[in-house]
Amino acid sequence: MKLNLKIWRQEDAKSKGKMVNYSLDGVEGDMSFLEMLDILNEQLINKNEEPVVFDHDCREGICGSCSLMINGEPHGPDRMITTCQLHMRKFNDGDTIVIEPFRAKAFPVIKDLMVDRSSFDRIQQAGAYVSVNTSGNTQDANSIPINKEDADDAFYAAACIGCGACVAACKNASAMLFTSAKVSQYALLPQGQVEATERVENMVRQMDLEGFGNCTNTGACEIECPKGISLENIARMNREYYSASVKG
């Protein structure tokens, strides 16, 4: 199939970017979206033009590296997938595809479609960990009984790959789904209780410092999340935060 691509090109973080039109022929339905971009880049390189820079790593939907706003939706029109799992069969011959970087003040563009998501790392560093005794007498995790439902919910929250689709989709560029998933995966487990108060307070404070927006419960994040992280996590984070505030 032949596609018209409108791609955001930006030389570096300080440059002013713009949308550039490309025409790409020979795209197969079985190609992934990133393979389609690879073909475009090969053609650009052969013409001695600068290839389009975009984030990617595992290309199997588990690393959270790939991003891209495709026709106004993070990771494109399909659900529960990352951009690397999006197949070109979702598009038709002659389609125009608008490809932009994830846009948020806290996700500054590095180059073209690549954005700096280290704000997510800093939110995790603020509290998404448990202090474990590693002096040689570490307790076996299985020796602590955990309710099956709690374990499942913690696991579902931990499935968050930190891709940033929630921020990209949210009209407020809010990072509450991400932060709440990282809070929840510990809040539900006994190992996470020791640092529960500081964790949620510090992570929410860092989230605010990074310049993310406020949640208005539109639910866009949940719909666009490639891992199906639920809004229940945001409610849980809120409860944890209020409880921490009361404890002081």
Binding site: A169, N214, N217, G219, E224
Partner: protein, 223 residues
């Protein structure tokens, strides 16, 4: 106050609690208005009670006004912060309708219309009451409220504005009411029941207000 403005979650709570308070107020306002259709004498006596009871006037009324001001001022602050959070470059293509309802994405629009309506409402009733009681210093008259209220619904343009405002209020409540429970941390086995209740409330109460306005308008035209 600075802690509230600094923490995004505290700001959410302020919006949710002030919103829930206003939702509760709306319900009791509706009950009083409904008496104007079914029992005008009761409407007069209840209105007089609300207008002259010192607890209502000097305790509940300031709380209500504060609730309205806090809700819309915080709403503006959140809107400005949220717009800034997207960054200096907006999306060339953003398909908001693919993942969120129009209502949830446009609370600021429905909210602004409701705010404008509250302005008109304050001019119509509150300013009139203040003038009656404190400027003209007229004597207490427990029978005047029904006629004054019904008279307001005579002009067609006012009824049209009233209907538009309450339709938008219904849209505002359809998202805001259930959303405030999520903000307060309630997302559990009761959530579906809460969602159904809030939908029923968000449609029935504004529809009831519209019915009362139309009732008084068309009754006056007939007579």
């Amino acid at each position: 106050m600075s802690a509230i403005l600094k923490s995004s979650l505290a700001r959410k709570v302020v919006m949710a609690l002030s919103g829930l308070f206003l939702v509760f107020f709306l319900g009791q306002h509706f009950v009083i208005n409904l008496t104007s259709v079914i029992a005008p004498d009761t409407f007069n006596s209840w209105s007089h009670f609300m207008g002259y009871n010192p607890i209502v006037q000097y305790a509940l009324q300031p709380v209500l006004i504060a609730g309205v001001i806090i809700h819309f001022v915080m709403g503006f602050i959140l809107e400005l912060q949220n717009r800034a959070a997207r960054g200096s470059v907006r999306y060339a293509s953003y398909k908001g309708s693919a993942n969120a309802s129009w209502i949830s994405r446009n609370m600021i629009i429905t909210g602004l219309v409701i705010l404008a309506f509250i302005g008109l409402h304050m001019y119509d009733f509150w300013a009139h009451e203040m003038s009656y009681k404190y400027i003209d210093v007229k004597p207490e008259d427990p029978t005047r409220y029904y006629a004054e209220t019904v008279h307001k619904f005579e002009p067609f343009w006012r009824v049209v504005l009233y209907v538009i405002s309450f339709v938008l209020l219904a849209l505002h409540l359809l998202h805001g009411f259930a959303s405030s429970f999520q903000t307060m941390g309630m997302n559990n086995k009761y959530s579906s029941a809460i969602k159904i209740f809030t939908k029923v409330y968000a449609i029935l109460i504004p529809a009831g207000f519209i019915f009362i306005a139309l009732w008084h308008h068309f009754n006056q035209i007939q007579h």
